[in-house]
């Protein structure tokens, strides 16, 4: 059985979905960030798989940018969580509900 690009694309779609569901379902901000990372890196798999299929370097370079952006994003997210933590003993996403209208 030969592993084709379709397998990688399916894996990528599955991981993306897992990340998406994780982001919606989990209430711990750290797990939410992990889910985000999962989504972004699932896309990376797609990029590489497509680049391989198309025999084109652009998809692989895209991964570099995505990696960096993902890191920057998570660092910012962590800082926001740390800032919130300084005011509260614990944090879950459900605790953040003073803004409702």
């Amino acid at each position: 059985m030969r592993v084709t690009e379709t397998w990688y694309l399916t894996l990528s779609a599955l991981l993306f979905t897992v990340g998406f569901v994780g982001l919606l379902v989990r209430r711990n901000p750290l797990v939410m960030f992990m889910s985000l990372e999962l989504m972004l890196n699932a896309v990376n798999i797609s990029f590489v798989a497509f680049a391989n299929k198309l025999d084109d370097i652009a998809g692989q370079t895209a991964v570099f940018f995505v990696l960096v952006v993902a890191a920057a994003e998570v660092v910012v997210g962590l800082s926001i969580v740390v800032a919130v933590m300084r005011r509260r003993p614990s944090i879950t996403a459900d605790d953040l509900r003073s803004l409702k209208g």
């Binding site: 990696l67 960096v68 890191a71 920057a72 962590l78 740390v82 933590m85 003993p89």
Partner: protein
Amino acid sequence: MAQYLPVLALLVLAGLFAGLSFVASKIFAPRNPTAEKLAPYECGITPGRDLPERFPVRFYLVAMLFVIFDIEIVFLYPWAVNYQELGLFGLVSVLIFSALVFESFVYLISKGALDWGPLQVSRRQDPMRSADRTTASTVRRVGQDGRTVTVLDAGVAAEEAGSGVAA
């Protein structure tokens, strides 16, 4: 391929040893669990709810700094592999990039993000912490306008200041 065989064998052995230890302790160790033994604390008041997880902020700070400087390598490594072909343009690009990364370092230092520990923190200038800020200057006394402060009041103020420090 053959020279990697010992490594593989070692891996298998390590895995086997770890697995066997777990299995062995499961089989041979005496276990007699009771409700008291399974409780998280042996004495004191039984906790009514799960304690809030606290995570130490400092470690996250370290992690964040690490991620920033770690990612730099993602761009530097491909350049380093091809630096001759990329020539002066590549060099200038990487210099600009490094300058930008270094710039964030300058900002971190100026903000005191790398001053750790109680000593450094207390050495920092803080308008909230000065000799001028006493109970007399920050607490408004209601209903004393136009009255002179008596000795008794001063004593009370001193007491309050003392208890404030203790608290």
